[in-house]
């Protein structure tokens, strides 16, 4: 009979907190957006599902063995762990107060070897790291997964259009203004007391404006892991929303005439140029911005494998089996950061709001930069392709093409927009490097 009671008291329904229920709904919403609205499904299906898993009451899939023990272990075990952590538990306080104070000590004040000792105790009485927690440690805390995905993206990227018209790199640079303006916006909100973001958090939020998933995850895993869930969700969701966010801004900032500008056909690019380009980029990173080396290094490596033509089986694996495996693990890991206590806060709304602002400003900056370049250069640039500078490869380039076709049904901008589009990837990785240098 008391086994039945245990069962009921251990069931999800009995322990379901409001926040967890809300987060499960958020996970279902993400799945709906991914499956039926085609919002970046490759990432949002695993993220949404991981979010649900992380919020299953009592399952503890997203927390460490130590946290699990703190949450559910018997008082005797708690006292042992307290001793290991060098803390004393108030004998008069109730069990929940003990758990609260142990949690605070373990996460904030305890020394690494004390935490290790407490974890030893938790594991010796049968607790283990949750599956999603293990995935997160291996894939994201180590920084490996976003880098391997970036390698795969490099192996999928054709720099031909960029090499044919290197000036489009300026568009990719300008669009990164979205990142820094948003950083500043977050700082302003904090200094006005509306939100409460540190500079590190503001930087991690800003990077949403880079419109590049792995870069966002990498940066926030370094600068603000506590916001990683909200930032990744915002980044991927807004990347999917690019066809809705960008066109009004693009139309607002350009005249019909500008949108009709025809661009000169791109020159053919030799194979050798494509092979040398990732190496040139790598050397420049090495010389001027070592902190962007992990991201851009792996990106260049993937691209070199693609272009060098002698390691096709590696390039193929990097673009398929490897990136798919890592995507599954990465998505579930990001989902593990969608736990109620960290996600359901006012700050998350701030992140979502700031994220869309970041996309808007980046788009505008790209378009305006293209208009500026038209003023100083003879070679005409259709300002619409400036919007592709935010990256969101290849969606933003397609949007530029589509808006261009509305003005002139014979003006195909896609290949021209691919230049700033991939330039935007480089630009936001550079921005990430700067931020990590100063705040990491």
């Amino acid at each position: 009979m008391d086994k039945l009671v245990t069962l009921w008291e251990g069931s999800g329904l009995y322990n379901l907190e409001l926040g967890q229920a809300a987060m499960i709904l958020v996970g279902l919403l993400l799945l709906y957006l991914a499956i039926y609205k085609k919002f970046e499904p490759l990432l949002l299906v695993p993220i949404g599902f991981g979010g649900i898993l992380a919020n299953i009451p009592e399952a503890g899939l997203a927390i460490s063995a130590l946290d699990q023990a703190i949450e559910v272990a018997r008082p005797a075990v708690l006292q042992q762990m307290a001793a290991a952590l060098g803390a004393t538990l108030d004998p008069l306080a109730n069990l929940d107060a003990w758990r609260e104070s142990l949690k605070a000590i373990a996460h904030d004040s305890a020394a690494p070897d004390q935490v290790r000792a407490a974890k030893d105790i938790a594991m010796s009485v049968g607790y283990g790291d949750g599956m999603l927690y293990s995935f997160y440690s291996v894939a994201i805390a180590s920084g490996i997964a976003p880098l391997i995905i970036f390698m795969g993206v490099g192996a999928m990227t054709d720099f031909g259009p960029l090499l044919a018209n290197p000036r489009t790199l300026f568009l990719g640079a300008a669009a990164q203004f979205g990142i820094f303006a948003t950083l500043f916006g977050a700082v302003v909100l904090s200094s006005m007391g509306i939100m409460d973001f540190s500079l590190n958090q503001a930087a991690a939020i800003g990077i949403i404006g880079g419109a590049d998933g792995p870069t966002s995850i990498y940066v926030s895993s370094v600068l603000a892991p506590e916001l990683l869930g909200a930032i990744a969700v915002a980044a991927y969701a807004y990347m999917a929303l690019v066809p809705l966010i960008q066109p009004p801004i693009m139309r607002l900032l350009t005249t019909q005439k500008e949108r009709e500008i025809k661009m000169t056909q791109l020159r053919p690019v030799s194979k050798l140029e494509k092979v040398v380009f990732p190496l040139v980029l790598l050397i420049l990173v090495a010389l001027f911005l070592p902190d962007a080396a992990p991201l851009l290094g792996m990106f260049c490596f993937g691209n070199l494998m693609r272009e060098c033509g002698v390691v096709e089986r590696l390039s193929d694996t990097a673009q398929n089996a490897l990136i798919n495996i890592v995507t599954i693990i990465l998505g579930l890991s990001v989902g593990s950061k969608l736990m109620a206590e960290s996600f359901l806060s006012f700050e998350t709304l701030g992140i979502l709001g700031l994220g869309i602002v970041a996309f808007g400003i980046g788009t505008a900056a790209g378009v305006l930069m293209a208009k500026l370049m038209n003023l100083v250069s003879k070679m005409p640039i259709n300002p619409l392709i400036g919007a592709a500078g935010v990256s969101a490869v290849p969606m933003a380039a397609r949007v530029a093409n589509k808006v261009g076709l509305e003005s002139n049904p014979h003006n195909f901008l896609l290949m021209h927009a691919m230049g700033p589009n991939v330039a935007g990837v480089i630009g936001s990785a550079v921005a990430a490097g700067v931020m990590i240098k100063y705040l990491g």
Binding site: L162, R167, L169, L183, S270, L272, F277, A423
Partner: protein
């Protein structure tokens, strides 16, 4: 007071960040343009590209071709020995 400092830091980081992005990409534009010119000068693109594409395949079929050949010959061997049995 601290808020002011945060604001200032944010502003500085914004300025610095955009500056670095622009400077870095400017250097990249220059480097890429130089690279393309150099490559274009030393090796007139179209001809060379084709040469460098065809020559390794015919002249130095070492690495992967070898492997390919070994696999094929192993397959042939296997096929033959199967047939004969």
């Amino acid at each position: 007071m601290q808020d002011y400092e945060l604001l200032q830091d944010g502003l500085a980081l914004m300025a610095l960040g955009m500056g670095v992005v622009f400077v870095f990409l400017t250097i990249l534009v220059i480097s890429v343009t130089l690279m393309s010119k150099l490559i274009g000068r030393f090796e007139p693109a179209p001809v060379v590209a084709e040469t460098s594409k065809s020559s390794p395949q015919s002249a130095a079929p070492s690495g992967q071709n070898d492997e390919m050949m070994a696999v094929i010959s192993a397959a042939v061997h296997r096929y033959r020995s199967t047939r004969r049995r």
